[in-house]
Structures are given as C-alpha cells and as structure tokens.
C-alpha cells in the first residue's frame, strides 16, 4: 500500500531544516515481553504508562528520570525504532504510524547513548544518510559543513572513527544525524560518557544548533544539573509514569508533587533503596 506523505516529510534536506515540528503523545503506553529463565515462562513488563503530552515546535524538551524509567524507550517511539503498545504519536499533525518509516527517520535524527559507527572513515559515516537517500553530488561539502556545525575540523574526515576521542565520536554522531537535515533531534544521554568540560561544550553546541536550525529537541538525561542547564520544559518520568511536566526551572523551584520534590533534591534513590 502506498502512503501519502505529509509535506514536511517530502521536503529536501536543505529546506527541511526550516520546518520545525510539534510532537504529540496521546495515551502512549509500552509493554515488552521478556523471558523469565528462572521460571521458564514469558512475562510482560510495562515500560511506559498512558503518557499524554506535547513537545512544541523548536523546543528543547528534556526527559528526566532514573535508570530504567523508560526514557530511552520514549525516544525510540518517536522515530519508530519501536511502536507504542497503546495510544499514538502525532508528528506535525500526522499519525507517526501512517508515515513511511524511512521518510520519518530522515526527519527525526537520533544520537544514542554510546557512539556506534559503520566500518570506515568519519566522512563515510557522516554522509551515510544522504548517500542512502540518493544524494550523489556535494557530499564532500556536506560532510565538511556538518562537521563544522558540531565544531570539528574537516581534517578529521579521513580519520577512522575508532581513532577519535569519545567526545569527538559523539560529535561525529551528531554531525551524522544533522547530515539528513532533520526537523527533530532525539538525544539519548549523549554526554553520559563525556567528562564535565566536554559535556558542557556538547550542551552549548546542542543549544546553538537548536536555535540556528530551529530543531525540536528531545533530550534524555538522568543528571539533574544538566537538565536544569539544557531544558526549556522538563518531564519527570519514573517507572514509566509521567510524574510532572513543567518549565524546567519551575520543576526545581516549585515542584507540584512530593515525588518531584524528593527526586529533585536527590532523595528519591535513597528512599527507593533504603
């Protein structure tokens, strides 16, 4: 069956960057099956529960929560690396599940927690997306532009990815995502392997790119200070539940729930295990 694509999913990479996008979650839930080898049976685990919220155009939206809260799964639903078990996600007014998945992923870039590369050089990795989609000319220029956009020298283009520092690797991953000209950027704890100065540099870079390219950014983090530095609005996610969603500063200074107050004070973990 041929699906009709929404306008924003048919635009060329150069113009698509001017097209920010609103993301709407409506009653989104996710359950996963897993094998319980102790009792030799399949079980179901609820990862996300009935999430309804929206991320505005060109907003830097942070998702805060402890490990195992479902933050990464939430991101993976947006670019359809997984699909929700309940509810649905709308991108720019269109059901994500009705959009051609390849076109959707071109418009929704993602940087994973750990850098993963294809065999070859930095150049080959950066132009991987555009090459897949048939771009044949101007690839060298595009690779240089994307590398410059993330603050890396074009001298790195010929280098093997494994020879770079982790900070450089994560920037190359960001450049690779930008090369497709996405309207949405999904960042899954992109600084978790970096030291403080590299983390701060990466945060500044993302803030700049979000403004320059009018990107809608979903930034996942478990770091309270980082969320405070990066996010315009923040959602606190615990055990798949949306505990609170508000302006980031308000989340820390005027929390509406006791759980938020305890989590933002760094007490939640102690309570959980103590």
């Amino acid at each position: 069956m041929t699906r009709e694509l929404p306008v924003s999913f048919c635009l060329s990479a150069s113009t698509r960057t001017d097209m920010p996008m609103r993301i709407v979650f409506e009653g989104v839930g996710k359950t996963r099956k897993y094998y319980d080898s102790q009792n030799s049976l399949w079980r179901q685990q609820v990862v996300l529960r009935d999430l309804t919220f929206q991320v505005e155009d060109a907003e830097v939206f942070t998702i805060l929560g402890p490990s195992g809260a479902g933050k990464s799964t939430l991101l993976r639903l947006v670019n359809r690396l997984e699909d929700p078990s309940q509810g649905h996600i709308m991108l720019d007014g269109h059901l994500a599940s009705s959009i051609d998945v390849i076109a959707l992923r071109r418009d929704v870039g993602m940087v994973f927690q750990l850098p993963a590369f294809f065999p070859g050089t930095v150049r080959e990795n950066v132009i991987y997306g555009p090459k897949l989609h048939g771009t044949k000319t101007g690839l060298d220029g595009l690779a240089e532009t994307c590398l410059a956009a993330v603050g890396l020298s074009p001298d790195l283009l010929g280098r093997r990815t494994q020879d770079l520092s982790v900070g450089q690797q994560q920037r190359v991953c960001l450049a690779r995502a930008l090369a497709n000209g996405p309207a949405i950027l999904l960042l899954d704890e992109p600084t978790s392997a970096l030291d403080l100065s590299a983390t701060l540099a990466m945060e500044r870079l993302i803030a700049r790119l979000a403004v320059e390219r009018r990107l809608t950014v979903l930034f996942v983090s478990h770091d309270l200070e980082q969320v405070r530095r990066v996010g315009q609005r923040t959602m606190l996610l615990i055990d798949g539940h949306m505990v609170e969603l508000s302006e980031t500063e308000a989340l820390f200074t005027q929390p509406q729930s006791d759980l938020t107050r305890r989590f933002c004070a760094g007490l939640w973990k102690e309570e959980k295990h103590g």
């Binding site: 870039g109 993602m110 750990l114 294809f118 897949l132």
Partner: protein, 247 residues
Amino acid sequence: MVDVVLALVLVAIAVALSRVKGLNLERDILLGTLRAFAQLMAIGYLLNFIFDLHRLELVFVLLVVMVLIGGQTSSRRAKSLRGRFLIATCAIGLGTFATLGLLIGLGIIATQPRYLIPLAGMTIGNATRTCSLALERLRSELTSRAGEVEAALALGATSSQAAQHVIRAAVRAAMVPLVDTLKIVGLIQFPGAMTGMILAGAQPLDAVKIQLIIMYMLVAAALIASLSIALLVIRKYFTRDHQLVVL
C-alpha cells in the same frame, strides 16, 4: 568385509584409551561406530539398488531427501526462528541444484547415478555445515552490532541496508573453513575423494581432475547456500517497518 572387521581393532584401541584416561567417551565411540556401520552399509545397498535401476527420477528423489535432512540439521542452529527448516532447505537446495545443474549443463559430469549421488552428497554436506555456521554467526553479529544496525535504521536505512555489514561478516566467517581448505589442499591435506580414487587404483592425475571439479563445486554451492540463508534469515530479525526485533 573381513578387512572392515579387522579394522575394528582401531576402535577397540580408542575405547581402551578412553577408559584408561577416564575420558568417558567409550559409549559415544561404540554407538558412533555402530551408527556409521549401519548407515554406510544401508547407503551402500541403496546405491547399488539405484545404480542398477538407471532411473534418474529416483536419483532426484534421493537428492531431495538428502537436502531435507541437511535443512533439518542446519535449522537446529536457529531454534527461535520461525520457518527455519524451509529457509535452510531452500538455501541448501539452491546451492546444490544450481551447481550440479551447471556442471551437467556444461557437460562436465554425466547424468548417471554413480556421478550425481556422491557429488551431490559431498555438496549437500558442505552446504549444510556452511549454512549452520552462517546462522550461528548471523545471530552473534546481530547481537554484538545491534547499536550499529540501529544507528543505520535511525538514519533511514532499510533493514537489508542496515544489516549489510552483518550479512557480510556472517557469510565470510561461514566460508573461512572451506576457503582455507582450498589454500592447503594438496600441501598438507589430501581430500577424501582423491584419496579414495587413488586407493581404488585410479591414476593420480585423473583423481586430481575430479577432485578439482569437486572443490570448485563445493565452494560455489557453499557460497550460494550461505548467502541465501543469510539473506532469507535476516528478514526474520526485523519487522516490516524496519525495526530490529529484540534478540
């Protein structure tokens, strides 16, 4: 047959060694010896019967049965995959019949049971081993390179584009034993068919010619079979929407 019975002395030595050294292999060796004897005697009588009949359709039926057994054996390497038996059988069958057909078409081998059955047997055996290796490697590569595969999917690659490196690695690994055999054959290893022919009184050069044809056939069949199984199986690890299924 007296010679075969006398050769059992070697099995007795192996059993005695196993017992003395506490290897606990006596039962397996004895059972294996009995099975080998029964299976080879049975196939010997069956081949005699088929050779005497001179009927190609019977040969074809026998080859199909051999391919089915190969498919069943190889598919055990991917117990969690649906349709594994059909996939493995198709891959082994394609490798076998494509190469055998080409050799017949080129007039290199005659369409006689005494040529077709042993050649197909060797080809199916090799293709089965290669398919088993490819299946195992495909799964381990997909597990260890899941990050790379998902990074490609996230950039808009289709599942077959995202799994390209994984497929290459699996097929290359599966072909390594056979390719290595090609490199050392005649130097430190005398292959079975050639050795058998020489022992049976054939001229060494005639034996070499047949052995070369067999080697080339084995390589082509194994590559066709392992590539086919990798391409068919990889689809099982992805959904229609190009999502990597949790392994």
